[in-house]
Structures are given as structure tokens and as C-alpha cells.
């Protein structure tokens, strides 16, 4: 670990880091554009200049390109270094249109920050500026090339990191242009990261164009509900409307990036048709009355049809808080069946996976990136876990062969990230034993549960792609509480009363159930079929926990208060001229709290919170932390 001095501060730098990173480790931010933690250095922008006063290297140097070495004496404040940085930024800004007031990056722009930091405040150049013609890059990303400072981050991410081949850099000298051969939607499933990675406003999120400034945002650390990978995100909201989603760094999960599916998913939270008031037989009522009616009618169903005629159904998108309370709710209303909404095939695969996974044999995304061989078993990662595809590419770039095993692992998935793969029919054909760090990524939609035994013996680390953002958590609880698959719970017309808690149940399955109640924030088939509807808070409107594919429990925080978006309010009644703490339509609880209320009404003992007993350790999860790996608890318990 080299020891050096930066601005009179003694620094012990980690092995192999640059002077720029060493400075960062003691809180000195040297301006930088082309250097990015996930992409490394390029030496293209020249704005990170420092002066070395003594040691093995002397004079002006680019701090991102220079490895920190023993005995270096670095000054970031030396007049020569300061002057160089000022001249470089002045030159980078020569063609910039100075259009910050109409740029969505404004207020969260590295170019703004570093222009000021480098001391360039007055424009001297009076000549004509070079201008570009922008391209139409599809519905998600706006292109404004005149703001470009040629740092090459976008193309390095898109081509090298993500393997895209339809976006790049054209031209030379003063005319470099970052774009496509011709207008058209960007093809990479990771294109949205251009918005995050460009240090200026060349790429901005079109879906949130001209909606808000950084200081207006409601933001909180959150977790993507798109699939079981559980990427860390920051949803951005304003006026109770979800505007956009940006990636949030978690080196144990998604690193710096997220996929387009997670970023640009349709924002159901904003859907005007989503349930926002309690309904009994289609008539609006208060929550208390709706809960009373629900319990009363369940009583009637039980009386009429007898034992075991009531089912409680959750889902893999229900937070772990809700999922943990589901069995208590079922007990309090004497339900005969408890289901976590899994299909029979998913149930088999999930229970196989949780009983096989241990702390040692489970694979994280980092394990995938560092693997020396990867087998994708019966999965299309574009559907089941897009970010794993990006991780697979990083391993492939370091030389790991990629095997696609089984008939449900299409070759097209790896083409999207520009890698080559070998197709195999059976898991047994994969020569995993000859590798040191093999990883198998197993899909669970088509997976044959017998394969779990094969995987268990293979010596490979395994990533099992559970359905939904909380599939792993649901599977653990399902095993603990004897949950059954959805079809089984609804089979043979035995169920006459059903309580769906954030559950996506196909309409056909509900057809034979006379009484349906639904607790949800989405307008599902169950909500449509339900005689009693109680709205719940959406994932951005409450705190919660998801357990991701590797069994990592991650806390997400409330981004915005529940309530009608200002956009949807009648302008004549806005602002409401009565004093109230909650916004209109804001009397909505997270599903687990609704369940606690119901348990209380049913006269049962109410738990203090969602997590108790062996789950109590989840109470103190830090939303800004790395999460906590809880996989293997089944196996340890048994």
C-alpha cells in the first residue's frame, strides 16, 4: 500500500489505484469527466491535472492515469495545475450551447459542477460554435449533441461494457459525434445507463422531460421491483407522481447500472385507474367499514361452505413485510389455504432452490462477474434477470466461456450483449468441474427441479432466478408455513372465499370463487372481480423489504406520500382549502399494516411489527447498506 502526500495530507492508498482515487479516499475531489469508477480511465478530457512536486514522477500529470506510488507529493492547488484545469475546461466549453436553463441535466450536471470547480466563469471565445444535428433515439432517451464534451464515457459503456453495436463515435478531431448510423431506437437492453453516465446533458430521460429540477425531487433509496435481481435504484417523484428511475450504486448487487426494463417500465403507480379508495360492492366507503364488511362476509362464507373454504393468496411482488404477515392473517380468519401465488412449476422450482442453496454455494452478481465459466440453464435472462446478462458479459470479457443449457435458453439473449456462447442440451454436458470458479444461472420458469440435485453436486455456485422481486422471500415463508401453489389452492372449486393480497391471479382461476376480496395498488383481475377492495400503498409509497435471487434482503424507503397526484386533482379544488396533514386520497396503508388492522379486528393478538422471531433481524436493515444475505436458512434449520 503506497504512502503519498496529497495537499499536505498523508494518504495510504489501496494497491493499484490512481492518484485521483487516492485523493478521493481522503475527500479531495479532483475534477474528472472521462474517468468513471466502473469504466476506469481513458485520459481523454485532461481536466484532472495535478502537479507532482516530489517523488518518482514530477510536474503536471493527469491524476486519473497516474498510479499512486510511494513517496509522491501531489498538489491539486498548485497554480500551474489550477491554471491548466481552468484552460482545459474553458476549451471544453467552447462549443457548449450554454442552454442549462432548458436542459434536464441542469442541477445534477457534472459539467456544471466541474466548470465552476475549475474556475471558468466568463466566456472569452466569440467565434461561431460547432453545432450538430441530433438523432431520434426512441421513446426513452433524448439526444442533444451540442452539449457533448467528448469524454467517451457513453461509447465505452455502450460498446465495451454492454456489448452494444448500434451506437458509437463517428468523425474525428473537432467533429466527433456520438450516436447511431441513423436515427432509431437504441438496441441495447442497457441503453438507459447513458443517461446516468454522461456527465452532461447529451442523453436525458425523455420520459421525464421538463418535469422537475433536482432540488424539487422526492427521492429515497429504493429497490427495483422488476425482477428478482433487486437492483438498487433511486425513484424520482414530484407532486406524488413517479417521474423517473435512476441507478443507485450497490457493489454487492448491481454496481453502477440497471437495465432498461427496470428503468423504463410503465409506471403503474401513476395509473389513473389504480385503486385508491376502499370499495364494497363497487361503492366507496372508509377502510374500517370495508374491513368490517370483509370479515363479516368471510364469516358468512365459512358458515355456508364450512372449513377450508377460504384461501389467502399473496405474491412474489408482495414485500417481505406483507409476506410475513400473510400466514397470521390466514390464521386469524381461519383460512384453509395459504398461497404465495406461485404456479405449480414455480413452486417446485422455488422449494427445490431454497432447500439446495447455502451461504457457500449461492452466487451473487459479483460471483457471476468473476466466474471463469458460466452456464445459463433454462433461462432467457432478458426476461428473468437482465442485469445478470451484463454481469455475464463482464466475465466473458475476462475470458470465461458461456454455455446456454436447455431448450429455453435462446441464443438471442447473449447477442444483445455482444458475446458468443455454446449451446448444450443437458446440464450434465457442461464441463463445470474443470473450472475453478464456475457459476450456473438457473431459470425457474421452466427449470426441472431434479436439476437442483445436479447443481448441488456440480461444485458450481448457483444463481436461481426466482419469479418476482420477492420470490426468494416468498419461497422461504411458503416452506415455513406450508403454503401451496396457486392452482392447488383454487383447485376443484373448494375455495369459496378468497383474499388476494397484491396477488396477480388470472381471471379464469377466479371465475368459480363466489367471494373475492383484494388488497392491492394495481388494478388486477382480482381487484376487478372483488366485492371488497382495500387499496394499499405502492412500493414507492412505503418502506419495505425484498429478498432478491441470491437471498439478499434489501430495504427500500418511501419515496413519496401516497395520495392523488396533483395532476389528477380537480383544479377548481386545488389547493384544498381545509387544513389536513395528509394529501387528498392519502389515507392508504401498506398492505402489511392493513393486514395488522384486520388481525386486530378479527380479535386476534396483534404482532408489534412485521418481523418477529427468526425474522426479527430484518427490522434493522439499512436502506443505504448492502442488504443482508439470509439464504440457506431452510437448509440450516433442517
Amino acid at each position: 500500500m503506497p504512502k503519498l502526500i496529497i495537499d499536505d495530507i498523508a494518504v495510504e492508498a489501496a494497491e493499484g489505484v490512481s492518484v485521483l482515487e487516492a485523493a478521493k479516499s481522503v475527500g479531495i475531489t479532483i475534477p474528472h469527466f472521462c474517468w468513471h469508477p466502473a469504466l476506469g480511465r481513458a485520459g481523454a478530457c485532461r481536466v484532472c491535472a495535478v502537479k507532482l512536486l516530489d517523488g518518482p514522477v514530477k510536474g503536471i500529470q493527469m491524476s486519473c492515469m497516474l498510479p499512486a506510488q510511494e513517496g509522491m507529493v501531489v498538489s491539486t492547488t498548485d497554480p500551474e495545475a489550477v491554471a491548466l484545469r481552468r484552460q482545459v475546461i474553458e476549451w471544453l466549453m467552447i462549443n457548449h450551447p450554454h442552454d442549462c436553463p432548458v436542459c434536464d441535466e441542469g442541477g445534477e450536471c457534472q459539467l456544471q459542477d466541474f466548470t465552476i470547480a475549475c474556475g471558468h466563469g466568463t466566456r472569452r471565445f466569440v467565434g461561431p460554435k460547432r453545432t450538430h444535428v441530433n438523432q431520434e433515439l426512441g421513446p426513452y432517451i433524448s439526444h442533444e449533441m451540442n452539449r457533448c464534451i467528448q469524454c467517451y464515457r457513453c461509447v465505452r459503456f455502450y460498446q465495451e461494457y454492454a456489448g452494444g453495436s448500434d451506437f458509437g463515435v463517428m468523425g474525428s478531431a473537432g467533429k466527433v459525434y456520438y450516436g447511431r448510423f441513423e436515427s432509431g431506437q437504441l438496441e441495447s437492453p442497457f441503453s438507459g445507463n447513458l443517461v446516468d453516465i454522461c456527465p452532461t446533458g447529451v442523453f436525458t430521460d425523455k420520459t421525464a422531460r421538463f418535469r422537475a429540477r433536482y432540488w424539487d425531487y422526492d427521492m429515497a433509496p429504493s429497490v427495483c421491483p422488476g425482477c428478482s435481481v433487486g437492483c438498487n435504484i433511486t425513484p424520482v417523484a414530484r407532486y406524488r407522481e413517479l417521474l423517473k428511475i435512476v441507478a443507485r450504486r450497490n457493489d454487492m448487487v448491481n454496481g453502477w447500472f440497471i437495465c432498461d426494463r427496470g428503468r423504463f417500465a410503465p409506471k403503474g403507480v401513476n395509473a389513473p385507474s389504480r385503486p385508491r379508495t376502499s370499495l364494497v360492492d363497487g361503492v366507496k366507503t372508509g377502510r374500517e367499514e370495508a374491513m368490517d364488511a370483509l370479515l363479516r362476509r368471510l364469516g358468512e362464507v365459512a358458515e355456508l361452505y364450512g372449513e377450508g373454504s377460504i384461501a389467502v393468496v399473496g405474491s412474489t411482488r408482495l414485500s417481505q413485510e406483507g409476506a410475513t404477515l400473510l400466514p397470521l392473517l390466514a390464521e386469524s380468519i381461519s383460512a384453509g389455504a395459504l398461497s404465495y401465488g406461485l404456479s405449480a412449476a414455480e413452486s417446485r422450482a422455488s422449494s427445490g432452490a431454497i432447500s439446495m442453496l447455502t451461504l457457500e454455494n449461492g452466487a451473487s452478481i459479483a460471483d457471476v462477474e468473476n466466474a471463469d465459466c458460466i452456464a445459463i440453464y433454462e433461462s432467457d435472462l432478458r426476461e428473468e434477470g437482465p442485469m445478470l446478462l451484463l454481469a455475464v458479459r463482464q466475465a466473458w470479457r475476462r475470458g470465461a466461456p458461456v454455455l446456454l443449457v436447455g431448450e429455453n435458453s435462446p441464443l438471442e439473449q447473449v447477442r444483445g450483449v455482444g458475446i458468443e456462447a455454446v449451446q448444450l442440451h443437458y446440464m450434465e454436458e457442461a464441463p463445470l468441474a474443470i473450472f475453478e470458479r464456475p457459476v450456473v444461472i438457473a431459470g425457474m420458469r421452466h427449470g426441472d427441479p431434479r436439476v437442483m440435485a445436479v447443481l448441488d453436486r456440480s461444485g458450481a455456485r448457483v444463481a436461481c432466478l426466482f419469479p418476482g422481486p420477492n420470490g426468494h422471500g416468498a419461497a422461504l415463508l411458503c416452506a415455513e408455513h406450508g403454503g401451496i401453489p396457486l392452482e392447488e389452492a383454487l383447485a376443484k372449486g373448494k375455495v369459496k372465499g378468497l383474499v388476494a393480497v397484491e396477488a396477480d391471479i388470472p381471471a379464469e382461476l377466479l371465475a368459480g370463487v363466489p367471494f373475492v376480496a383484494s388488497l392491492d395498488w394495481r388494478e388486477t383481475a382480482a381487484v376487478q372481480a372483488a366485492s371488497v377492495v382495500i387499496p394499499t400503498a405502492a412500493w414507492v409509497e412505503c418502506d419495505g423489504t425484498y429478498v432478491n435471487f441470491e437471498g439478499r434482503a434489501q430495504r427500500f424507503s418511501r419515496v413519496m406520500k401516497p395520495g392523488l397526484p396533483i395532476k389528477e386533482l380537480d383544479p377548481a379544488c386545488h389547493p384544498p382549502r381545509i387544513h389536513q396533514g395528509d394529501p387528498p386520497g392519502g389515507d392508504i396503508l401498506p398492505s402489511w399494516q392493513v393486514m395488522i388492522e384486520m388481525i386486530r379486528l378479527a380479535g386476534e393478538k396483534v404482532p408489534d411489527g412485521p418481523f418477529s422471531g427468526s425474522w426479527a433481524n430484518l427490522t434493522s436493515l439499512d436502506p443505504e447498506g448492502e442488504g443482508e444475505v439470509i439464504r440457506g436458512r431452510c437448509r440450516r434449520d433442517s
Binding site: S165, D166, G168, M170, G171, S172, A173, F181
Partner: protein
């Protein structure tokens, strides 16, 4: 569309290369010779022959200054504007050329014979100031010599056009 024979010949050239990409400049130059400049159609055809995307071809095409993505005259004149030539009178050479031709830098004469372009180093610094007309390199130029070369090249082009007729 390029003739089948040319396409097959270029495909064989690509097949003989260690990586497709290294044959890209050859392929682009042949298609440029065929069309007179590298047309959009030519980019698509290059991409197909090379097994690359159109973007990947365009990245190379727009990087190299002797691949022309816009129509040019029969002879492209590249006048070096790099440091050695600049020190030896490259700027006045360029001005003379523009004067002789009656066009600005980046333009093509109305008869379609010449296009005048700057060029950053022709690797002929020892003979500065220098320029290239078509595929021929000329050094130690002054205004008179440059004017004379233009006459010769124009006559040669006329001859080619007669011959071609």
C-alpha cells in the same frame, strides 16, 4: 448495387483476413472507387460484406479522411495543413489552390473535376509544403508549380472521360 463479382471478390478478401475489421478499409476503398464516394448504400454493403454493423463501418469511414461520405470530384486534392507544411507555407499553398480553382476549401469545382480538402499530414514533411491530387503526392510546392499541376491533372481527367465515353 455493386456487381456480384466485386462482392464475391471482397468477401474472399474478408475471409482471408485474420479479423474482418482489418479488411474494412480495403472494402470501403473499393466501394468508394465503384461509386465515386462511399454512399449510404455503400456503407450498408460494406457492413454486409464485413459482417459488421453499419455503425461500426461508419465509425471507421468517418475517421479516415480519404474515405468520402459525400460526393467528391474526380480528383480530390488534399493540401497538408499540419505543422511542418504550415511552417513552410502550407497556408498560402491552400489559398493559391482555392484561387486557381475558384472554390472554397471543402468545395467541388462546377465541372466536377476537383474537390479541395485540407489534410492533417501526408507523411511528406521533408518535402513541405505538400499536397496530394488523386493518388499522387507532390512536394516542395509553390503557387506556379501548383497551378501547372492542376492543368496537367485536369487534362488527364478530360482524357479519361473521353476514353471512358
Amino acid at each position: 448495387m455493386i456487381p456480384e463479382a466485386l462482392k464475391n471478390e471482397l468477401k474472399a478478401r474478408v475471409a482471408a483476413a485474420v479479423t474482418n475489421r482489418e479488411a474494412a478499409v480495403d472494402v470501403m476503398k473499393r466501394l468508394q472507387a465503384h461509386y465515386g464516394w462511399l454512399t449510404d448504400e455503400g456503407v450498408h454493403e460494406s457492413a454486409e460484406i464485413l459482417g459488421m454493423t453499419t455503425l461500426q463501418v461508419e465509425e471507421l469511414a468517418t475517421f479516415y479522411e480519404m474515405i468520402y461520405r459525400r460526393p467528391v470530384g474526380r480528383r480530390v486534392i488534399h493540401v497538408c495543413d499540419s505543422i511542418s507544411c504550415w511552417a513552410m507555407g502550407g497556408e498560402s499553398l491552400m489559398a493559391h489552390m482555392a484561387g486557381h480553382l475558384g472554390i472554397g476549401v471543402g468545395e467541388t469545382t462546377s465541372d466536377g473535376v476537383f474537390t479541395l480538402l485540407p489534410c492533417c499530414c501526408l507523411g511528406n514533411c521533408g518535402e513541405a509544403p505538400t499536397m496530394m491530387i488523386g493518388d499522387t503526392l507532390y512536394g516542395r510546392l509553390d503557387s506556379a508549380r501548383a497551378g501547372q499541376l492542376l492543368e496537367e491533372e485536369r487534362a488527364a481527367v478530360m482524357g479519361e472521360m473521353e476514353g471512358g465515353r
